[in-house]
Symmetry: D2
Amino acid sequence: MPLPAEFHDLAKRVNNWGRWGADDEIGTLNLLAPEVVREAAATVRTGRRVPLALPLRQDGVQTGLIPGRINPLHTMTAINQEPFGPGTVATSDDAVTMGLQAGTHWDGLAHVSHSGRLYNGRPAASVTAHGGATALGIEKAPPIVSRGVLLDVARVRPGAAGQPGRLPAQHAVTPEDLDAAEELAGATVRSGDIVLVRTGQMGHYLAGDRDAYAFPSPGLSIRTPEWFHARDVAAVANDTLTFEIFPPEIDGLWMPVHALHLVEMGMIQGQNWNLEELAAVCAEEGRYVFFLAATAEPFVGGSGSPVAPVAVF
Amino acid sequence: MPLPAEFHDLAKRVNNWGRWGADDEIGTLNLLAPEVVREAAATVRTGRRVPLALPLRQDGVQTGLIPGRINPLHTMTAINQEPFGPGTVATSDDAVTMGLQAGTHWDGLAHVSHSGRLYNGRPAASVTAHGGATALGIEKAPPIVSRGVLLDVARVRPGAAGQPGRLPAQHAVTPEDLDAAEELAGATVRSGDIVLVRTGQMGHYLAGDRDAYAFPSPGLSIRTPEWFHARDVAAVANDTLTFEIFPPEIDGLWMPVHALHLVEMGMIQGQNWNLEELAAVCAEEGRYVFFLAATAEPFVGGSGSPVAPVAVF
Amino acid sequence: MPLPAEFHDLAKRVNNWGRWGADDEIGTLNLLAPEVVREAAATVRTGRRVPLALPLRQDGVQTGLIPGRINPLHTMTAINQEPFGPGTVATSDDAVTMGLQAGTHWDGLAHVSHSGRLYNGRPAASVTAHGGATALGIEKAPPIVSRGVLLDVARVRPGAAGQPGRLPAQHAVTPEDLDAAEELAGATVRSGDIVLVRTGQMGHYLAGDRDAYAFPSPGLSIRTPEWFHARDVAAVANDTLTFEIFPPEIDGLWMPVHALHLVEMGMIQGQNWNLEELAAVCAEEGRYVFFLAATAEPFVGGSGSPVAPVAVF
Amino acid sequence: MPLPAEFHDLAKRVNNWGRWGADDEIGTLNLLAPEVVREAAATVRTGRRVPLALPLRQDGVQTGLIPGRINPLHTMTAINQEPFGPGTVATSDDAVTMGLQAGTHWDGLAHVSHSGRLYNGRPAASVTAHGGATALGIEKAPPIVSRGVLLDVARVRPGAAGQPGRLPAQHAVTPEDLDAAEELAGATVRSGDIVLVRTGQMGHYLAGDRDAYAFPSPGLSIRTPEWFHARDVAAVANDTLTFEIFPPEIDGLWMPVHALHLVEMGMIQGQNWNLEELAAVCAEEGRYVFFLAATAEPFVGGSGSPVAPVAVF
């Protein structure tokens, strides 16, 4: 089934192809200009740090539904081994096998294509088995540090009965929701910001229910890419497995937000970010703006990368 | 062969066991106090960012000498797959197998033991095949952001003939070298700092010679842990595979710096950090102090972790 | 909880320690004498072949209950790549990550220990992170070819209502069951034979229900090792995940059959063998004795190995 | 560079497309008819077994030249763990990551394509990242047992000075070499046989020299596929990494034997088989014909598979 006209209309309105040159491979990360980074650092007042990554473990968020995206299998390759003889200093070493997008991660620009194209018109075929993403690989991303803004939609929108702080599964986060959360934040989202959208869905996983976390899931509406495009943000992350509402709002139109962000805008996306402690700290500190450090691991040819983001207040 | 008296003397002088309580699992990362982080952020003036991680790839720095510490094997698990039918949005996914300490990484506190003990007196046996590092795992580390100081020893010490900016392989970096580099930096290393020591050895790998990079290698002298202890730094990283000079200074005493830092002081160490661009930027900007973000990936039970460090000026 | 006296009594009666010398590492595989192999080959009459391995795939029999024993993750590392230039011969390559005991496999002798000991009195500590099973590793096993005998217990014992050909989950296969199946087989189990015990439990997995397959599960009773010991068989395999009845017959005595076979007798065990087609062929051919080829993959230090067994009639 | 006319001429002469139907996915393994298997079993006289697989280990035959084809990384996921509490039966478990064609293996029919086609005209594009070889996968192969014939070319052709029993690196094994070895064998290769061709190259690896083993390497000449086609053998294996002579005989024509065997004939190939002990046993027993069991591990979508072949005399 071809993508509907509605999708193509939205695509045109948010498209960034050519904006940073025909050879650009980093899209909206171009917005992380030195002055943006400098002003982000200037938001630091107390030095309080909040980690946003889930622990990497075999009982991570993956349930087996996405083939190949396996939770980290961590194994020891040496335990207190004495490589230089008995009584000498002993070492322990380890290895891991995991899906690059298994846990808290960034979707890179090569993660999604539509109509045979990746961001900036690159052919979808530039992703190969041998080289991975030979264009738009995650290793091309510059260091990701900027101003972070938490839009705590789960706080400004009533949850299901008995579940304050968690959007219902059928809730598509709309531009109006983002406006309301921005008002709560008391800050205006601006160019180069990294926006963190909290749905509260992570509560399911933290309570031990991976299946409920996975789907159905609240998430971004197809109408939100225009909101992010208008404010010219550098990246968006949230606390769900699917990022956008799932199942989708329009019957048969799957993953439209992925396609708009990654292919049209050239904007990386974060998923499975744990925003629970962050939300509590923001409420406690009375501020929703902070310094965010969230650099991707530079996997050559990676379609994405695990990330250990940190908010600094 | 038991560890010599000289080692035990040094061990006593730098030991931090009990300093942060009997249950402490993070050692000198306790020094990353809010005010330290705040002052670190205050060093940012231009917003210029410098990445310090090597790309993660099959032809990484590992040569096969350390069994199990394999370079990243990156594989695609899906390429432009249309999970919802022909003509829909297509996705590419990938997975990786790698040694946690294969590339640019942190040694966690469980990486090394001696005399049956890990940092803070934990039994070496707390590292198990099933659970990995059940104590002192890298997932216990808090977000790692602080003031970074580059001590460019390769710049202040003459290199081998024809190799300016690279220490000879037999050069053990001494406290005097650190003093000289500190003087060049025009800054005083202080509590909570993360010190980056440049030997220039990375030049071998960047020039395509992995074997020359691996060893023999310049690196820290057994006399430097006292220097770091006196200044109470939070962590130390450098641009070598072995971290300390290798082969070692004292015949038969292997990996003494590892043992002093990780076991006695409870101080994590960074290896395979690419400090070449950083050194150029420091020289150009005329400053060797910056904001450093280098949070570990939270592998549960990890004896270490890949890291993508960023210096912000 | 220490192992009960009942276990130790059985252990004494089936123990083979020292029988093939103090240094022996292959246990009952010593029984695969040339004349046994020769007579096994002599059973071939029609040349009909029956494969007994499950396909190796991500949706294999593992459900995540046994940490680390992951189903095969098969990934392509090259797809129609032309390593020597456009228009030349193209190659596709692949890699796999899997638990060695994830699918149809042999348990090696290092898989289980009790009271600090492996088979033949080897210390349990000879299994290490660095070297794996430094004693009794699966690579020590000689080629495994012998006479196979199918004991189709599922056929001679009534199944649950509506499930002919499948033992109820709470059915412990007893020596009397084996006698009855031997009578059906019209053959006498003898020294060096490899006995395949069919419970029919595999039907659950083949019907798509992994959880029902996993457990509760019928399996061998604690009374059967003596039966196998009396007949001096070389190995035993069946069509379950747990091999022995699970949960166990005696409250608090977990995995006694594993301990008796692997530790006391030094007899490898096969699990997750698909005996459904074999049972049909045996019934059709009117014979339950055949040539069996089931050599382990020689993983150095392996506590087990995948195997692709073949019965030849 | 397009494949030369000489290749296409040979291709026509050995082509088996359509011979076993338009849907066939196993090629010459169709020749393993029941009577072939029966007669193979009838060759067993003494019951002596000879294993032909190299141990699977980190220091296997791969040198890193073929990206992604990594030697087995074997790791313990549990060591003497007591899952049911202290004092109970303890288990050790392990996992592996490896290239499917890293060690002793079969090349499956999907391993090679040319001119956009796999065996039997299947499109090369049927190999995908998500599903692997969706046609011609190694899991389609039936149990591989047949008559094995050792053609000990290294014995009948003089080696380099001082290296009896090893062909020089520049030696392309010709039809005349195979004739001479067949005469030595005192047997006529016939339909359904599996032919093992010994070059002696494995001696390099067994002596610890992986680089010398890898290449340059003796191997099959482009003229041998016709020889195998004329005798209608089921499969061919040898004791080299490259299978065919490498660098190739005809400048710019890379991997022609792979293309003729896998694509044109639909005949799987074995590589890295250890034929040293086998050659000694054949010479000692005075016979070069035996029962061979070499079933592939059924990796779904695999372009090949590790195998642990066994010769039975």
